[in-house]
Each structure stands twice: as C-alpha cells, then as structure tokens.
Amino acid sequence: MSNTAPLARYRTMRRIRSFEERVGELFLKGESAGSMLHLSIGEEGVVGVTDAMRPGDSFTTHHRGHGVFLARGADPARMMAEIAGKATGYCGGKGGSMHIADRQLGHLGANAIVGGGIPHVVGAGITARNRGLDHVSVAFFGDGAMSQGILYEAMNMAALWRLPVVFCCINNQYGMGTRVDRSAGRVAFAERARAFGLAGAWVDGADVEAVHRMAADLLAGARAGQPAFLELSVYRFYGHARMDKSPYRTPEEEAEGRRRDPLATARGALLAAGIATEAELDRIDAEAGAEMDAALAAAIAAPAPAPEAMFRDVYAPGTPQPQPQADRLRAILAEGSAA
C-alpha cells in the first residue's frame, strides 16, 4: 500500500459521506428541491473507480450519483445549491439532485431514468475513438438498471466497436424495495457482460483499494479497446429516498449490511498499514465535516433562480425561444375581438 493515494481516497470517501449527511439535513430543514434525494452512503468505495479515471475522461451517473461526482472533483457548494434548486447550483437550479451535470469535469449528466444515461457513454466512446483521444467514458448505474434492456444494447455496441467504455454497476442489493434476487433471474451480473464480449469483473465495494486495483486494470483495458463491466458489491445504508424507511428490510439485515462500511474498512487498513494515525484521520473527518457544513450553509443562503430562467436553455441562445404563455395570451387578447 503506497501512502498518499489511499489516504486521499479515504478523504474523498469521508467528504462524500459528510456531504450526503448534509443533504439529509437540507431535506429536514425543508430546503431541498423535493424529496427525491438518493444518498450514496455505503457506496463510497466507488472512489476506487473514479480514482482510476483521468482528466478528459467522462461519465454519466444514475439518480444516486452525488458521490461519484464529488469524487470527480465537484464543488460541494455548487452541488448542494443544485440539490436545493438554487441559482448558484451546477444547473442553475433547474436540474436538481437527479440531473446534476458538469461539462468541465466530464459529467455528462445524472439521470432520473433508470438506465437512461448508460448509452451516452457509447457515444462518448465514439467521440474519443474518432478524435483519437485516449479518453475513457464510464457509466455508473445501480443493480436496478441490470433489468433495463438498453444496458445490453449499449454493452453490445461497446463490445462490437471495441470502444473505450466501462459499465460500472453499483450493486447496493436493492432497487427501491426489491432485493436483487427478486429482480434478477440470475445474479451473476459480470457473466452477462462477458456473454456480450466485455471484460467482466466483480469486486467488494467496501474495500476501496481492491476496487481501485480492479478498476485501474479495467480502465486501462478499455483505453486499449477492451470495454469492460465492473460490479461493485455494496449495501445501501438508508432508505431508497428521503421518505423511505425500508420497512421491507429486517434490522438484522441492515445491521449486517452496514458492517460492510467502506470508511471503516479503509480506516482500519490505513491504521494497520501505519499510513495514518487515529488523530490524522480524525482531522480529515473534521475537515470534511466543516467543508460540508459550509456547503450546506451556502446553499441555503443562495438565491432561487428567477422565474424567467425557466424559459432559458430549452433551446440554445440566438435560436427561437419558447413563447411564454403570458405573451401568447397577450397577443390573442390585447387587441380585442370582433365586436
């Protein structure tokens, strides 16, 4: 175990967890835009994948994508503002938690349609190939998306055209209230990918270093033209969205699942390897907490978008824009009608 990278990964994972905890607070304060907030607590091991990505690489996420984006360098204040539907958010408060995106950081978009963002990486792969760039594009999605046909269409295309693409399934064992063995005829997901001609692998998502080794291999392969599929096995610590108390899970199962904690695992490994002391790790934790407190406060203080903003960005500037209803009614009624 080398020193700096694992420690940095720990820090990123802690920042994710702290961020998600603040998202929960945002909701409880009644400051979030809606209640469709899907926390990635328990899934922080995905940092092993994002850490294998490079500048220029792109990605799409599902509805539970805060962690991935943060790990790819997002500004937590702009993220939190977006989740609050504020003008200072990544999408000016129009997208929200499920549609956050950032062109600069290669985030081609979170998606509220299960599986919706998966084929976009195929297109990103074509762009990279046609332009001779060695960029990889990674689709992050949940186990639920394993039931969406478009995943197989996209995997087939990636394999057929040998595109620099990785499909990363964050299997948190549940799609809403449905445990994965109640949605899949057979749960060996990597075999499905292999049957389509992809490299396919499974890894314990609670062990970020194992994830990272596996992801580094697969991403290198993808850059060289062997697209891949990686399943991260994790556990969804909390409910599906903010209103869900997971009555369909037993307390025992939840306790067991939460023992598969990527942060606790990493902490133990760092201490055992002598890379960091308890005090150093505590400081990292505290810094992350403070950073996210600030992001939360900034988001709450930020202004809401102006109502007119809703008409912008439907189409590009300089092209015909949507006609606001008030303008239409004015045009019809202002002159009066035949008397």
């Binding site: 835009a33 209640s35 499920m98 949605s183 899949a184 606001p324 009614l329 009066g336």
Partner: protein, 330 residues
C-alpha cells in the same frame, strides 16, 4: 357513499375488481412488497398473493409487453408505469402492440389491459418525473384514455376501465393522491362521458385531472367577480365525448381549455380545434387554451409552480375573455 382519499379509492377499486374477477393481475415495479411508490397497491400482495400481484424488474418495455401477452391469452392485467414519464421506454409496446393488435389481427383478439400510471407536477420531481403525456396516447388509435379528477372517479373510472375490452391508459395525478372526497354509489357519468362539475352561463371551462380543481377554484374566484363559469371535467379523453361541451359553448359563447401538459401539441389543442370546428357559429371569442409552458419542468419549486396553470391565471384569462379586463401581467 363513503369519505376517503383518491389514493384509497383507487386501492379499493383494485381490491373490489380483483375480488370479483380472478383474471385481474397487477404487474409493475414495487406494486407488491413496497405497496406502490404512492401507496395505491399497499397490502394487495398480502390479499391476493404473489401470482396476482407481481413485483416486476425495472423493465418498463417488457412489463407492458408481458401485460399484452397476458391479455391476449385471457387475463386482464393491470400494468403499472411508476411515472408516466417512463412511457418513452414502453411506447412501442403501448402504441404498436397493445393499441394495434385488435385491428391488425382483424378483430380476432383484443388486449383488455389497463396501464396505470401517474403524472403531473407538484413534488419538485424535475423534468423526467413531472410530465403530463396524455397527448401521446390520445394520438394513438386503439387506446382508451381515462384521467380521474375526483375521488369518486378514482374508484368508478378504474372499475369501469377494468371491464373494457380494449387497452385503457389510466392516468392518475401525483398531486391528487391525498385529495379527500366521497365515492358515490354510482359513477358520476357513464364511461366516456364528461361531468359538469359546476354550472355557469358566461364561459365554459374544459379540463381533466388536476386542472379540474384549478378550474373550479378559478370559477369560484370568477363568481366573486361577476363571471359565471361552467366547469366540465372530461374524465376520459378516449372515448372523447364533447357533446356536453358543445352544448355548453352553445349557451356561453366562450370556451377555455385547460391542461397541465406542455401546451403545444397537447390534448387541449385537440379539444380547442374541435370546439372551433363544431361551435363556430356560437363563439363570441376565440377558444382559449391555457396550458403548461413549452419547457421541461425545472426542479426549483417556484419555477415548477410557474410552469403550469394556476387558478389565478385561469381566472385572469377568463376575466379578460369575458370582460375585456386585462390582468396586471398583460
């Protein structure tokens, strides 16, 4: 008569229908153990078992496709799309399979299924979870289309839908589940017929689903301003029976059609065009459409609200239409 909620009325309709007809099955995401994303199917898996209340994988296309196959072979499936926004994933099975089978096969087989879903704004659910897509179904010959606005219709229209020989797209509204009201002993009108929710003489307001309530609120406000608005709830868009609307417009001479959907290409345009064709001689003013803005729904709560018609906007436009009284925003 019993007082309940829209959600509970739907649930009771399913229970009563499933009790009466063993061929009815439910098929959809989270309809079983979870009880439905909005609680409509809560407890049904306990009542009817896993073979009749089937939790499906997240496979919208195959859910609808399986329902088509079940219907072709004799069952009466209720397929559920958790949000109508997901219709794009299943549109081939809806529009090319369910809708066309009877006709293509020369009447040999029908597809007696109900496709339940819900749409609309009100939860800051953003652009992919807030749409009103009934226009897609309206434009598909072979589909029936019901959209209950009231608690009583939630019950009775669903019961009626579950007796139809052809596929019924049944669209609930996420903003109405908590609505309280009474379930009448009989439907407010026969299947496919509109209901006059408020009588009036100056103006005819035509609406369905949640916009019936905005229209009623507008009519109430208008009454205070000396404008008497008739409010007609279409209930079904297919069959689409505009006879009562034409009769109303013949009396009032003025019509407005209100929809929550993006206005362009909406069902409101169809209805306005028909009123224009059939009521030309009676119209004192243009048939006015009030609809959602032609934009994807933004997540920010204030923007979401501004993107769709409110009672205030309807009343403003009505006063202008009837009394030439321009509102502040005009």
């Amino acid at each position: 008569m019993s007082t309940t909620t829209y959600r509970e009325a739907l649930r009771q309709a399913l229970i009563d229908a499933m009790t009466a007809d063993a061929d009815i099955i439910l098929l959809g995401e989270e309809v079983g153990v979870y009880g439905g994303a909005y609680g409509v199917t809560k407890g049904l898996i306990e009542l009817f078992g896993e073979s009749r209340v089937i939790d499906a994988p997240i496979s919208e296309a195959a859910i609808v496709g399986a329902a088509v196959g079940a219907a072709l072979t004799g069952l009466r499936p209720v397929a559920e799309l958790m949000y109508v926004d997901f219709a794009g994933l299943a549109m081939d099975q809806i529009a090319n399979q369910a809708a066309k089978s009877r006709s293509m096969f020369g009447g040999q087989m029908g597809v007696p299924m109900v496709l339940r879903s819900q749409g609309g704004t009100g939860r800051s659910a953003a652009a992919q979870h807030s749409q009103s897509l009934e226009a897609w179904f309206l434009h598909t010959p072979g589909l029936r289309l019901a959209m209950p606005a009231t608690v009583s219709d939630a019950y009775h229209l669903l019961r009626q839908a579950l007796t139809q020989p052809d596929p019924v797209v049944f669209l609930e509204h996420k903003g109405l589940y908590a609505l309280k009201g009474e379930v009448g002993d009989a439907p407010d009108a026969p299947w496919g017929a509109p209901a006059i929710r408020r009588a009036g003489s100056d103006l005819t307001l035509v609406a369905w689903s949640r916009m019936v309530h905005e229209s009623l609120a507008a009519a109430e406000a208008l009454a205070g301003a000396g404008v008497s608005a008739e409010v007609i709830d279409l209930r079904c868009l297919n069959p689409l029976d505009l006879g009562p609307v034409f009769a109303s417009v013949a009396r009032t001479g003025r019509a407005m059609v209100v929809t929550e959907a993006a206005l362009t290409g909406s069902a409101a345009s169809e209805i306005a065009a028909r009123i224009g064709e059939h009521c030309f001689d009676w119209l004192e003013e243009p048939v006015l459409r009030i609809g959602g803005e032609d934009i994807p729904i933004p997540v920010a709560p204030a923007l979401e609200r501004a993107a769709i018609p409110t009672a205030a906007l309807i009343a403003d436009a009505a006063r202008w239409l009837v009394h030439r009284e321009a509102p502040p925003w005009a």
